[in-house]
């Protein structure tokens, strides 16, 4: 299958000032984006951020209010869905229930007037390892198998771009992991550009070469998954992609190449190339796994240049590979810390006085517009609030 794309140039997908309004609400707002040919591109965002609308506009199932969509030099904005060299894997697969697997997969070829479809269909069914299922009806297949049929049905048409709309959303966790690897393998095999829409940050990071984090119809940040994770540029990205500890502060000076930020009576150093706040106010951020936890005698060994926060352990949960701590800082905020379980038995206990510390090169400074909780899973926030209330009640009683 590797030579499938060999006879044709795969070209970049360009979205230019793409806008979609439903009434007065802009679902997608002036989106400009180039998706490189042959890449596995993930559009990541919470539900309602405009990612699916973007995908549907590329597919031709939704008309943009403004802007253009091009593949290479070819403007496809005005083409109808069935005229576009683009195919979609739908969220619930949308397999035709009245056709068997073979006919589902052959559907696109037949509509384009191709008479002899058998070889191609058999070939693609082998690629997704469903050859023996050809004469079954979709309802007789498991979720994972249906998912692969949906991929085969789209891929057999050799589209310039394959769109995947939350393709793994309906699968259970284990199967999802398996299919992530599978999809990535297929993408490498065929070399087609994959545009994958998902709200699952882990899924996006596992599969994609490039991730674009979308919020309120705009791209917040785009790049290699590791780059975005290590250096989020907005509060939304810091919270949505993985977890972050964020605290409000004010810029107070410089120390060499580092910008100093005062926060709750402490001073944090942030390298200037990791600092994105526009004004004097800034939010200091660090990922939970970058934080070291020191107690007792260890406190003296904390490197001099590290940022540090003293606090008290309020929760310890052991998860096997790591131990997750919640540490309450002097100003009441709880910080999350992940520590690898390298040394057995060396764990802190609830109530211990500890010092959290981390390298300035793992610190980032963000612009505080919008507050420090945008992008946090609202369910987590609700749970936190509930927890606080329960604790408050029991303390009062």
């Amino acid at each position: 299958m590797a030579d499938q794309q060999g006879d044709r140039n795969v070209e970049d997908l360009h979205l230019q000032s793409l806008t979609k309004k439903f009434g007065d609400v802009a679902a997608v707002d002036d989106l400009t984006l180039t998706i490189p040919a042959g890449s596995f591109f993930a559009l990541l965002g919470a539900s309602g951020c405009g990612k699916t609308t973007t995908l549907r506009m590329v597919a031709g199932l939704e008309d943009p209010t403004a802007g253009t969509i091009r593949i290479g030099d070819k403007d496809i904005t005005g083409l109808r869905a069935f005229e576009r060299p683009v195919n979609t894997v739908f969220q619930s697969y949308a397999l035709f229930p009245h056709l068997d697997i073979f006919e589902n997969v052959a559907f696109g070829l037949r509509r384009r007037g191709i008479k002899d479809v058998t070889t191609q269909v058999e070939q693609i069914l082998d690629l997704v390892e469903l050859g023996p299922m050809a004469r079954r009806k979709p309802t007789q297949l498991s979720g994972g198998q249906q998912q692969r049929v949906a991929v085969a049905r789209a891929l057999i048409n050799k589209p310039d771009v394959l769109l995947l709309d939350e393709p793994l959303g309906a699968l259970d966790l284990k199967l999802r992991r398996q299919m992530q690897i599978e999809l990535k393998r297929i993408q490498v095999d065929v070399g087609t550009t994959f545009v994958h829409v998902t709200h699952d940050q882990e899924e996006a990071m596992t599969m994609a070469d490039t991730v674009a984090v979308m919020n309120k119809g705009r791209i917040e940040q785009m790049g290699h998954p590791a780059d975005i994770y290590e250096l989020p540029r907005t509060v939304f990205v810091a919270n949505f992609l993985g977890q972050s500890n964020l605290f409000d502060g004010r810029r107070s000076g410089m120390s060499g190449d580092d910008i100093l930020v005062d926060s709750h009576g402490l001073t944090f150093a942030i390298p200037s190339d990791r600092f994105f706040a526009e004004g004097e106010d800034a939010i200091v951020g660090v990922r939970p796994e970058k934080i070291h936890i020191a107690d007792g005698a260890d406190v003296d060994t904390v490197p001099e240049n590290h940022n540090r926060v003293p606090g008290r352990v309020t929760d310890v949960s052991y998860t096997g590979v790591s131990t997750q701590y919640l540490v309450e800082a002097a100003w009441g905020q709880e910080l999350g810390v992940f520590e690898q379980n390298v040394v057995v038995g060396d764990r802190c206990d609830v109530g211990d006085r500890v010092v959290l510390h981390w390298s300035p090169s793992h610190t980032f400074g963000l612009d505080p517009s919008g507050g420090s909780t945008v992008g946090v899973d609202t369910e987590v926030l609700a749970l936190g609030a509930l927890n606080a209330r329960l604790l408050g009640d029991s303390a009062g009683a």
Binding site: G60, L61, A94, P97, F107, A154
Partner: protein, 265 residues
Amino acid sequence: MRWLRKRLVGIIAVLVLVYLFIPIAVIMVLSFNNPAGKYNLSWNEFSLAAWTNICGVPGVCSSFVTSIEIGIISTIFATILGTMISFALVRYRFRGRSTTNLLIFLPMATPEVVMGASLLALFLNLRFPLGQLTVTIAHIMFIISFVVVTVKARLQGMDPRLEEAARDLYANPRAVFRYVTFPLVLPGILGAALLGFSLSFDDFIISFFNAGTLVTFPIYIWGAAQRGIPVQVNALATIVFLVALVIVLSGQLLSYRRRKALEAR
């Protein structure tokens, strides 16, 4: 006691089935009767006369054929119109859509006597000659409601993404309809047609008002009931029942066979 408690549900189920099928059984049995007087109400002696000479009584077969004709023609028209109305109501937003939605159900809610009488008044006022045409028109009218209800439910239950997937897979609007929408709605349409035919074949009240001198099968039986229903009517009724039974059973058998075949693979 325990024996009874264990089997109570089964016993009741059998009793209900007996209750449902006794009238039909009586009709079938009496089709082999040679009645003593002019009323075919009590068993006298076995005879195949009604079956060997099924059109032997004047008017039986012609009225039967008339009813079949009316049933087929009105079902075809009503199914086509009703299907198109359903698509319009489900797929398009237009002025008066919700009103139409409501009005289409009215014939189902209107008492048949009222509908029959008002249709008669309409035809008389228009000086439209009563006959097979007026009965057919009346039947089309009330079958449409049933077709719309059935087909609309089917259309609404269809995942809109299936049609989007077809468009995505190079199907132009015509192909989307032909290869995806229509095959998926077809079972609903066929069901509606079967229901429509049986409603038409069965209808007495509305037909009676608008038939003029035309005699449909139900009208014939009603007329015959005054002076004794001929045994041939029992024979024809038995045939109708058996045909319906065969249709239902073969449908069941087909889906059972298909399921078995797929499991065996």
